[in-house]
Every structure is written in structure tokens, then in C-alpha cells.
């Protein structure tokens, strides 16, 4: 178990190494190899679930010196928050690759190679305990996604891919500047070079510097989330990307932004994060994103673009929950990030399935699909209900927890959230109605229902939808400590003040707390 994180991290690359030796003409072998590698990546991450102890903080820590002269190290470790995202990544990475089986027919070797590289990059982002390593993986994700959109994308792929890269790159250089500023501040206080996040946390950052470092980080993460008004790359990228690319983009890549807020912005710069002005600005942008995203979704004629804008709206809930700065808001936000990964992943897969059969995503071209594709109809229905937050599915738990957190901070926030949820139900149900119900169009009558492989892609996600919806307790349990850490860091004494049980002070069943 000592190196389990490294094993999880590098399994996709190992698969890639095998893949490179298969001649590109042998497409069947390439597909099998890529799927096997992705499945292996998922399988090796499963032991994490059983070995993880929710009463401890960072676990499975690995640390090796890498570039001693600048204090960068190969330093991995996961807490409950990272655990959920790592599992989401390994699962959805596998499903995305599985879903490409028939959809991708050209340059397959390169296609799967980019997915596997990207998989390692995303896992690294969620595992890194060293800011430098974090940035490295953060950038590593960018290039494969660029190629995935630019080579296998739709007609405007070149434009969408470049836009995606330039937006993200501008954001990430600013974020990097923030990391460097903290690093330098740490050096001037302690006279040692270190990028370790726990070392950077010890740094006392002067107020004025904290302020601009916060905004540097903010821009980097806000572009990735994306928050309004930095979201304009997202609809383009989603619409042009191949299905599996969209799934990964929505389910995992966007979470890197919210992950950054929770891992860097809040714990490292607590004073700026709780500055009322900052909160107001960020909450304002989040609420605009919720409402704007929902209204934009209502207006879309393109199925995929609708789902893309719904992401903007859903991620608005996540950022609002984060900046409610209370346990309910943050825990709800994290859970909702996972939920969004599952439900939006499903919605993009749904679009991919009809697109593969009909080669159009125009909503008006469909209707009555339920009659000819009942299994597909059920899968889509579950995705829709999950995404709109219908009890007892997973989306409900996430949204209601965020709503609780928002309400504790401000009634107005909660009202906006409720409006957003209502609008969400409207555009999703309307979409369902327009595509699945009503009369069958002549052109669609020959469509086939899901085959076994496609059902296999949806099945695990459906299980998770019900699991989180009906029994969310273990999920909240692993999030208790990470959430409490963030809240206590930003608002020391919050739990005591509000007469809440502080999970950090609960008696520990096992000794040997790591770091």
C-alpha cells in the first residue's frame, strides 16, 4: 500500500507505453489495450476506498525529493475530498474511453494515447501535495484536451481548441504567479525553499499581498470552473469536442477549478477569502452564473450546447457553496461537484449516443425517442432527474446541502439558488419533453436502442446516482474532516461558535495521524 497513489497515477501511462507498441493499423488491439488500461486504472484505485480512514487527514502519502534546489518534491497524498475526485476520475476516464469504441474511427492510437496521458494529469492534480507538482499536472491536462478537441472535434474544432487553450493558459499563468508569490513569501519568512502545500500554509502572508495573490488564483481557477464571465470558452469547447472529450471536460476538468478554490484559495489565503467584499463579488458572479447559465440553456436549439450551459449553472452552485464558508456549503459543494460529474457525464453520453446514430444534435430534429429507444429513454430520464435535483437522487442531496449553507449565510443567496433550481428543472424537463416524448419523426424511426456496451457505460453511473441519493452518509463522512479543516482555517472557532460538533476534535479511533 506504500505506493498505491503512484500506482494509480501511473497505470494509465503504463497502458500508454504498451499502446505505443501496437501498430496503428491494428485498431481492434488498440481499443482493447486502451480499455484494459483504463479499466486497470479504475481497478487499482478501488483499494483506496477500503483502505481510506475518514478519521485521518492526508493518507497514502509519498514524498521524494525531486528538484532540491528549488524545493520541489514528488509529494502525493489524498484526503476525503481528493479521494472522491480521484475515484470519479478513474471511473469516468474508463467510461469515456469505453464510450468511444465505435464513435472514433480515425487515428485511434493517438486518440487513446491522449486520453491516457490526460488521465494521469488529472489524477496528479488531485493527488499533488506540492504546489509545483500540482501546476505541472495542471498544465499536463491542457495539451491532450487541446488535441482531442482539435483533431476529433466538430467543424469549428480549431477555433474551439485554441480558445480553450488560450483562456486556460492565461488563467494558469496567473495562478502560477500566485504560487510563486506564496513560495517567495515562504522563503523570506523561513529561509528555505519549499513548494509543499503544508509549508505554504504556515506562511503569514501580508494583507496587501494576500489580496492580489487571491485574485491571481481566482482568475486561474475561475477560468477553469468556469465562472461567469470567463465561461465563453466552455460552450465552444463542449460543442466541438467529441463525446468522450466532453464527458471528461465536464466531469473532471471543470472540477480542477473548484478543487483549486478549496485546496489553495481558501486555506492559503483565508483573510482574503473571508473579506466581505470578496465574498460578495464571488457570490455575485456565482449567482449570475446560476441564473444566466439556466436562462441560456432554455434558449438553446443544440442539445449539446444546452448541456454545456447547464454546466455553467451547476458549477455556479458549487462556487456559491464554497464561498458560503460554512460546513454545509462546502460539503454540499464538494458532493455536488461529484454529482455534476456523474449526471452531466451521463447527459453528454446521452447526446453522444443520439449524435452517433443521427449525426445531428438539433433538438427539433428529435421527438418521441422514448417509443423507439426505451432503455435509452430511462437512462436519459435518470440523468435528467439527477441533474435537476429530484429526490431521492444524488442531485437533490447536493443541492439541498448547498441551499442550507447558502441560507445560513444569506437569505437572498438561498432565494436565488431556489430560482436557479426551478429554472434547471424547466430546461431539463423541457429538453426531455421535446426529444423523448411526443410523436416519432419519420427520420428517427430506424434508431436502435442501447447495445450492451452502452448499457455498461451507463450502469455504474446509474448505480452511483441512487447510491449517493439514498445513502449519502459515507460520502459526507469522508468529507467531514477536509471540510472542517477549511472552515476552521478560514473562520477559526466556527464550529464552537455555532455549537457544531467539530470533527477535528472528535476522539480518534486510530493513532498515527499522518501530517
Amino acid at each position: 500500500m506504500d505506493h498505491i497513489l503512484s500506482i494509480v497515477l501511473f497505470t494509465p501511462l503504463l497502458g500508454l507505453a504498451v499502446l505505443l507498441f501496437i501498430p496503428s493499423s491494428n485498431t481492434a488491439a488498440i481499443r482493447w489495450c486502451a480499455n484494459a488500461a483504463a479499466f486497470a486504472g479504475f481497478a487499482v484505485s478501488l483499494p483506496l476506498v477500503f483502505a481510506f480512514d475518514p478519521a485521518l487527514d492526508f493518507q497514502f502519502v509519498e514524498r521524494l525529493s525531486w528538484i532540491p534546489s528549488i524545493g520541489a518534491s514528488y509529494h502525493l497524498g489524498i484526503d476525503g475530498f481528493s479521494l472522491l475526485l480521484v475515484l470519479l476520475t478513474t471511473l469516468l476516464g474508463f467510461l469515456a474511453i469505453l464510450s468511444s469504441w465505435t464513435a472514433i474511427r480515425e487515428r485511434e492510437k493517438e486518440y487513446y494515447a491522449y486520453f491516457l496521458v490526460q488521465q494521469t494529469g488529472m489524477l496528479g492534480v488531485f493527488m499533488a501535495r506540492d504546489a509545483f507538482l500540482f501546476f505541472l499536472f495542471w498544465e499536463m491536462v491542457l495539451i491532450p484536451m487541446y488535441f482531442i478537441i482539435a483533431i476529433w472535434g466538430g467543424p469549428r474544432r480549431s477555433y474551439a481548441a485554441i480558445k480553450f487553450v488560450i483562456y486556460t493558459l492565461v488563467g494558469s499563468v496567473l495562478m502560477f504567479l500566485g504560487i510563486l508569490a506564496l513560495y517567495w513569501q515562504h522563503f523570506s519568512e523561513f529561509q528555505t525553499y519549499s513548494f509543499a502545500i503544508e509549508d505554504l500554509m504556515r506562511t503569514q502572508v501580508p494583507a496587501s499581498m494576500q489580496w492580489w495573490v487571491f485574485w491571481a488564483f481566482f482568475l486561474g481557477f475561475a477560468v477553469k470552473v468556469p465562472m461567469w464571465p470567463f465561461h465563453t470558452w466552455l460552450p465552444d469547447a463542449h460543442v466541438e469536442a467529441p463525446t468522450a472529450g466532453s464527458v471528461i471536460l465536464a466531469s473532471i476538468l471543470l472540477k480542477m477549478g473548484t478543487y483549486g478554490f478549496l485546496r489553495f484559495s481558501l486555506p492559503l489565503l483565508p483573510d482574503s477569502a473571508k473579506d466581505p467584499q470578496v465574498i460578495q463579488i464571488v457570490a455575485g458572479l456565482s449567482i449570475i452564473a446560476i441564473i444566466y447559465g439556466a436562462l441560456a440553456s432554455l434558449m438553446q436549439k443544440d442539445w449539446k450546447k444546452l448541456v454545456a450551459y447547464s454546466s455553467v449553472s451547476h458549477l455556479g452552485f458549487c462556487t456559491l457553496g464554497i464561498f458560503a464558508l460554512n460546513p454545509a456549503g462546502i460539503a454540499g459543494s464538494i458532493l455536488q461537484q461529484i454529482n455534476h460529474g456523474i449526471s452531466t457525464g451521463m447527459l453528454f453520453l446521452v447526446v453522444g449516443i443520439v449524435y452517433e446514430r443521427r449525426h445531428t444534435r438539433e433538438i427539433a430534429a428529435f421527438g418521441g425517442l422514448y417509443k423507439i429507444m426505451p432503455v435509452f429513454g430511462i437512462a436519459f430520464l435518470i440523468a435528467t432527474l439527477s441533474s435537476m435535483g429530484m429526490p431521492p437522487l444524488n442531485g437533490f442531496i447536493g443541492e439541498i446541502t448547498i441551499l442550507k449553507g447558502a441560507y445560513q449565510t444569506s437569505l437572498a443567496w438561498a432565494v436565488w439558488c431556489a430560482i436557479g433550481i426551478a429554472l434547471g428543472a424547466a430546461y431539463l424537463l423541457w429538453l426531455y419533453q421535446r426529444t423523448m416524448l411526443g410523436d416519432v419523426k419519420e427520420t428517427n424511426s430506424g434508431l436502435t436502442d442501447l447495445n450492451a456496451r452502452e448499457i455498461a457505460v451507463f450502469a455504474p453511473l446509474v448505480v452511483l446516482v441512487f447510491l449517493i441519493g439514498l445513502y449519502p452518509k459515507p460520502f459526507f463522512r469522508v468529507l467531514e474532516r477536509p471540510t472542517a479543516h477549511i472552515v476552521e482555517r478560514v473562520r477559526p472557532g466556527y464550529h464552537a461558535e455555532h455549537r457544531l460538533v467539530n470533527p477535528l476534535e472528535a476522539p480518534r479511533p486510530t493513532a498515527g495521524l499522518e501530517r
Partner: protein
């Protein structure tokens, strides 16, 4: 008295790389008339062998550091670092020249000799510890390079390139010489160490005279490193010169010019640093901005890389503006990484260019990914490194530079520089788009397989770029240690 004119063995040892290269260069000139037209490549092999021996001699010299010839030259870590860069650049240039010269029907011995002489000049520049030696080195390097730029003498653009480079280069050298004269006037010496001592020890240093001298030298060196506002010649010269020579110019002479830039400005002019810092600050920002934004518009790949080289000069000037040991070390690291990635990128251009360089537009690279996947993959590495994507040398180069800038509280320069590097991603990525996503062009359709020599010119820098990107520690520590000694 006579003793001091007879160099000791140790002194000769410290100057051995230059001696070897001069002898091999002269040998090539003598061998040229007696070799048949088919075996000119042999002369290139001899030149490479000479450079490898010189590289070995560099490490031997490094084991015996110190001054030589009445401290006209000094072998320290800094000099060794840059010697390794310029010799490596020489080797890579020759590797990428064989095929090119054969195709143009100009495979002649003089070419290799001129490369060696130019390298000797650069090597003298980086070891020089005395202003006149610096000047001599610069002239040796420049004159050889002027000739190289016009080596295909029947080609119009070659002639234009050579003339432009020669005129502007001589003009710039004039400024540099004027600066040297003023320093001599102010302090009565041209030895860098003595100048520094004279400035530090005098109660009232001639600040005005030194500032003017710094300004003049900045103009002269600004031309050589193509920093704004003295960058105008770069695109035309880079576009017109034979591609391997362009590669050479963008890496070797530039690194050497930066070396003397660093040596002079961190030793002699450190005491008037407050005066020249704003100058270099502005030049760094202008170079980055002009280079990157102009590169966005380019269709010709060589011109694109010419503008990109202006931008990269801007990044190195950021490191200079930092005026710290870390700044110096980061500039050294960056120049090493830059030399490698640029040599690699130009080697691919030399391969695709075709006879008479008719196909050097970015669009001529269309479909390279499908036709020659390995070549395309290597070019991808160089492009990603030029962008500064992690795990490449270009990333660590930029990282160290902006780290140095932040530590010297150059916040705005760092912000604007980093934003600039995001803009740059656009034009580098466009090359990848064309290469991987478009249908093969007429040129890539009929591209000849890559000869061994050119493969070497690609694989070596690619390996170097990745090495610097994954294990930068050793090189960086060497650079830091050298920079520390330099400041003393």
C-alpha cells in the same frame, strides 16, 4: 619581465578549446582544395570531431579554473557553461547542414571552417575578462557569421540577409566600442575586475560617464541579442539566411552576446544598476510584446521563429532586470534550453524547406504528422518547450526567470511577461494544428526520408530539452554556483 609573456602550461590549458578549434578551422581551409566534390561532408565530420574534442578540453579547462594571459581571459563556471552551449550549438548546426548544403549544391569546406571560426569567436567572448578581448571575440564571431548568412551567394535573399546583418551589426559594434572607450576614459583600464574595483573604491565614481557607457553598450549588445528597440533586423536576416545558419545565429552568437551582457552588467555596471534597470525593464517588456504580437501575424515559419526569438530575448532580459544571482542563473539556464529547442525547430525547417527554400511557410508543414510522425512528434516537443509547457526545458527556463523577477519585486514585469507567454501559445500551437490536422501539402506528400545526420540534429536537442525539463537540478545548480562566483 619576459616570463610574463610566455604563457604557462596551465594558461594554455585554459585556452585550449579555442586553440583546438582555430587549428581545426585552419586545417579545414587547407583541406578544402584537396578534397573531391563528393567528399566535402568529410570536412564536416572533421569539424564535428574538432568541436567534440574542444568540448572535452572545456571540461579539462574547467578542472583548472582561473585567469590566463594577464587575466585577459578567465575560466570559471560561467565561461564553461557558455562554452558548452556554443560548442553544442556548433555541433548541432553542422549536423543539420549536410543535407541542406547538398540540396543547394553548395557543400563546401569553407562553410564548416566559418562555423568553427564563429564558434571560436563566441568562445572567446564568453571567457573574456577584459573589454578588448570581448570586442575581439565579438568581431571574430560576427565576421564569420556575416559570411555564413550570405553563404549561398547566388541567392538574392541570402545577399540581402548578409548585407543587412553586416551593416547593422557593424553599426552596433561601433556603439559597443564607444562604450568601451568611455569606460576606459572613466577608469583608465579595460580589465573587468579592475574596472569594478576602480568604481567601487573611488569616493566619487564617475556615475554619469558610466551610465552613458552602460547605455552605449546596451545599444550595441541589444542589437546582438535582438532586444527591442533594436530588433528590426532580425526577421529579415533570419528569413534570408540559409536555415541551418539561421538556427546557428539564433542560438550561438545570441547566447555569447548574452554572456558578455551578463558579465559586464553584473560586474562593472552593478554600481549604477539603478540607472540601467528601467532601461532594460522597458526593453524586456517591449521585446516580449513586439516579438509575440508580431509573431501572431506570420505565415513564414522562419519569420515566425525570428519574432519568437525576439520574444525569448525579452524573457532573458527579464532575468537581467532582476539583477540577482538567481537572475543570472536563470538567464543561463534559459539560454541553454532555448539554444536546444530552437536548434531543433530550425532543423525540422531545414528538412522541409526544399531546394531554394521555397517551402518554409507554416502551411507547407500541413500533414507532417501523418507523413513523418516521428519528425512531427519531435517538432511538437520543441514547440511545447517554446511555449513553456511543463516537463520541457522551456518551462523550467521561464519558471526560473519569473521566479527571479518576483524575488526582485518586479511584479508587473512578471505578470506582463507571463501573459505574453500565454499569447505566444497561440502561434506555436497553430504550427501543431497545421501539422496534425490539415491534409498533407504538396511538400509533405513528397518529403524525402530524414537522413541520419538530421536525425542526430533532432534527437539530441529533443533529449536535451526533455532532460532539462524533467531533471533540471544538476544544470541549475551548476548555473547557480557559477552565477554566485560571477557576482564576486
Amino acid at each position: 619581465m619576459l616570463d610574463s609573456f610566455i604563457p604557462s602550461w596551465a594558461e594554455l590549458l585554459r585556452f585550449m578549446p579555442e586553440i583546438i578549434l582555430s587549428l581545426v578551422g585552419s586545417l579545414l581551409v587547407m583541406l578544402e582544395p584537396v578534397t573531391g566534390p563528393k567528399s566535402k561532408s568529410m570536412l564536416g565530420h572533421v569539424a564535428i570531431a574538432g568541436l567534440i574534442v574542444a568540448l572535452g578540453a572545456t571540461f579539462v579547462a574547467h578542472a583548472n579554473p582561473g585567469a590566463a594571459f594577464s587575466s585577459m581571459i578567465v575560466v570559471d563556471g560561467f565561461a564553461t557553461f557558455f562554452r558548452v552551449i556554443v560548442f553544442t550549438v556548433g555541433i548541432l548546426t553542422i549536423f543539420s547542414s549536410y543535407q541542406y548544403l547538398d540540396r543547394e549544391g553548395s557543400n563546401r569546406g569553407e562553410y564548416y571552417a566559418l562555423i568553427l571560426f564563429s564558434v571560436v569567436g563566441q568562445s572567446v567572448m564568453v571567457v573574456a575578462n577584459e573589454l578588448i578581448m570581448i570586442f575581439i571575440g565579438l568581431e571574430i564571431s560576427s565576421i564569420a557569421t556575416y559570411v555564413l548568412a550570405g553563404f549561398l551567394r547566388d541567392d538574392k535573399r541570402n545577399n540581402e540577409s548578409a548585407i543587412k546583418y553586416f551593416l547593422l551589426g557593424s553599426f552596433a559594434t561601433g556603439f559597443l566600442l564607444y562604450g568601451i572607450a568611455l569606460i576606459y576614459g572613466a577608469t583608465g583600464t579595460t580589465d573587468l575586475g579592475e574596472v569594478r574595483q576602480a568604481v567601487l573604491q573611488s569616493a566619487e565614481p564617475p556615475v554619469l560617464l558610466l551610465s552613458v557607457a552602460a547605455g552605449l553598450m546596451f545599444i550595441g549588445l541589444g542589437f546582438k541579442v535582438s532586444g527591442a528597440p533594436f530588433q528590426m533586423w532580425t526577421p529579415d536576416v533570419y528569413q534570408g539566411a540559409p536555415t541551418p545558419v539561421t538556427a546557428f545565429m539564433s542560438a550561438g552568437p545570441k547566447a555569447a552576446a548574452f554572456a558578455i551582457f551578463l558579465r559586464i552588467f553584473v560586474t562593472v555596471f552593478e554600481s549604477v544598476g539603478d540607472r540601467w534597470e528601467p532601461l532594460i525593464w522597458a526593453s524586456a517588456l517591449a521585446s516580449m510584446t513586439i516579438g509575440n504580437f508580431a509573431a501572431l501575424q506570420q505565415k513564414n515559419f522562419k519569420r515566425l521563429l525570428a519574432y519568437s526569438s525576439i520574444a525569448h530575448a525579452g524573457y532573458v532580459l527579464v532575468a537581467l532586470t532582476a539583477r540577482s544571482e538567481i537572475g543570472t542563473a536563470s538567464a543561463m539556464f534559459y539560454l541553454a534550453a532555448y539554444a536546444l529547442m530552437n536548434m531543433g525547430a530550425f532543423a525540422v525547417i531545414a528538412h522541409v524547406a526544399g531546394k531554394g527554400e521555397t517551402t518554409v511557410d507554416v502551411s507547407d508543414f500541413a500533414g507532417l504528422g501523418a507523413k513523418q510522425p516521428v519528425t512531427a512528434a519531435l517538432l511538437t516537443i520543441f514547440m511545447l518547450s517554446l511555449i513553456g509547457v511543463p516537463l520541457t526545458g522551456g518551462f523550467f527556463g521561464k519558471f526560473y526567470i519569473f521566479k527571479a523577477a518576483l524575488e526582485s519585486k518586479l511584479l508587473w514585469l512578471a505578470i506582463l511577461g507571463l501573459l505574453n507567454s500565454a499569447v505566444a501559445a497561440y502561434y506555436y500551437l497553430r504550427v501543431l494544428v497545421v501539422m496534425y490536422m490539415e491534409e498533407p501539402s504538396a511538400r509533405t506528400e513528397n518529403l524525402e526520408p530524414m537522413p541520419m545526420s538530421l536525425q542526430a540534429a533532432l534527437w539530441l536537442p529533443a533529449a536535451g530539452v526533455l532532460f532539462l525539463g524533467i531533471f533540471p537540478s544538476a544544470v541549475l545548480e551548476f548555473a547557480s554556483a557559477s552565477a554566485r562566483l560571477l557576482g564576486q
